[in-house]
Amino acid sequence: MPVPIQPQPVDGCPAPRPAVDVDVLTDLVEQIGKGLPGLRGELVADYLRDAPRQISKLVAALAAKDDAGAAAAAHQLRSGSALLGATRLAQLLSEVEAAAGRSGSDLGALGATAVAEFALVRVEMGELHSADLLVRGIPGQAR
């Protein structure tokens, strides 16, 4: 029986923290996005386009026990994730990077946690992306 990825809220317990801290993204866009109305949508779309490729590389490297490859894929995904508010994923990727090549570390388990976290990030980023499209319209289509 697989363990569910998304912890479910239980009466009396706080709701789980989202995978994407929207405040981080909002702060970033407020700081650097003056005069760039589409910046948030551009960043999210870019992340959704690029990140799955890096995750695929990470999964392949983990399966092949290629520590250096896993570290490189984790490294490349880490900065963008941290920038856009996927803070927990960024932390997990940094742990993957640090654990790669270190003896006695369970890189497989750590990597699997990061991959699972990415699934949550992807869903939430996808929701942000859809919301942006609703506000701005789908490029190339009249509303």
Partner: protein, 310 residues
């Protein structure tokens, strides 16, 4: 300023471009070190903010290449990395970085780096401009406005190389004002300076079609006539002698109507005579023959001067 952002992660690139733009600077982007290096070599980049770890050419190698390239003007380099361990930072600074940034980049950190970059770049620009002005001043004779001996030496070295390698030929005329000491002695040094200035003006005005003139020494001048034989250069020099007499600069010691004249020696610089120092010595001998034969004359280097006749 023009800033080049280098990162293999596209989200980081977009954020960097927006950050630099929000700080009022232009931002170019490159996805790896090799692409960045191509852009830097084209010139016009003031600042590079580069990721440290990238496939192909990493940030350290990019730093090293930028520092080894002398001709692009100073490029201020900031290395960005998720690691801030001392030895890592030190390695980056030794590779040529001016500063360090921690990733993920924050706007106010980038702003601080660009303030420093602007100051340092302005200093380097001023230095480069001053150096180029000094280089020009160091090669010009202030009295006559002609190139001086340093400029001449550089030019002759270039011409000797061209003569040797591509078979070009040049005629060189060494001019010496006759009895010039008498002008200074009889009329004062100001009159002497005026005479030198007038000769300089005359030579500069007569330089056409790539001919160049230099002040060689006290009252000596040197003219270079590209692609001319000693004979045709001799015709040009005799015309200059007539032009000088027409200026009617008084010289009591002159045997030519009490007017200032010059004598000249001419030699040809070609593929057989590519030794500049030797050539100048021969030209000097021809000049002294012109003096000995009565002044206000032109003599061409002879085989007896040690160089084959032109």
């Amino acid at each position: 300023m023009r800033v080049l952002g280098v990162d293999d992660d596209s989200v980081s690139r977009l954020v960097l471009r927006a950050t630099v733009g929000s700080l009022g600077h232009e931002c170019l982007l490159a996805a790896d070190g090799r692409q960045a290096w191509d852009i830097v070599q084209r010139g016009g980049v003031d600042v590079v903010i580069t990721d440290r770890m990238m496939p192909d050419m990493d940030g350290l190698e990019l730093c090293r290449r930028i520092r080894e390239q002398p001709n692009t003007g100073y490029v201020y380099v900031v290395l960005a990395s998720v690691l801030d361990a001392h030895d890592q930072v030190r390695e980056g600074m030794l590779a040529g970085a001016d500063d360090y940034l921690l990733k993920p980049l924050r706007r106010h950190d980038v702003e601080l780096r660009l303030i420093a970059a602007e100051r340092v770049s302005a200093g380097h620009r001023q230095l480069e401009q001053a150096t180029s002005e000094l280089r020009m001043i160091a090669r010009r004779d202030p009295l006559t406005g002609l190139g001086n001996r340093l400029a001449l030496q550089e030019e002759l070295a270039t011409l000797a190389h061209r003569a040797d390698r591509y078979g070009h030929r040049y005629s060189i005329a060494l001019l010496d004002l006759d009895h010039f000491k008498a002008v200074n002695d009889d009329l004062g040094h100001q009159a002497g300076d005026d005479a030198l200035h007038a000769v300089g003006q005359l030579l500069a005005a007569s330089c056409r079609g790539g001919d160049t003139c230099y002040r060689y020494g006290g009252e000596e001048f040197l003219c270079i006539f590209p692609e001319q034989s000693a004979e045709t250069a001799g015709i040009a020099v005799r015309r200059l002698q007539q032009d000088l007499i027409a200026l009617a600069i008084p010289n009591a010691a002159s045997s030519y109507g009490g007017q200032l004249t010059f004598s000249a020696g001419i030699a040809e610089l070609n593929t057989h005579t590519a030794d500049v120092d030797g050539l100048l010595r021969q030209t000097d001998l021809a000049l002294y023959r012109a003096k000995a034969n009565g002044r206000n004359r032109v003599e061409v280097v002879l085989p007896s001067d040690g160089v084959s006749a032109a």
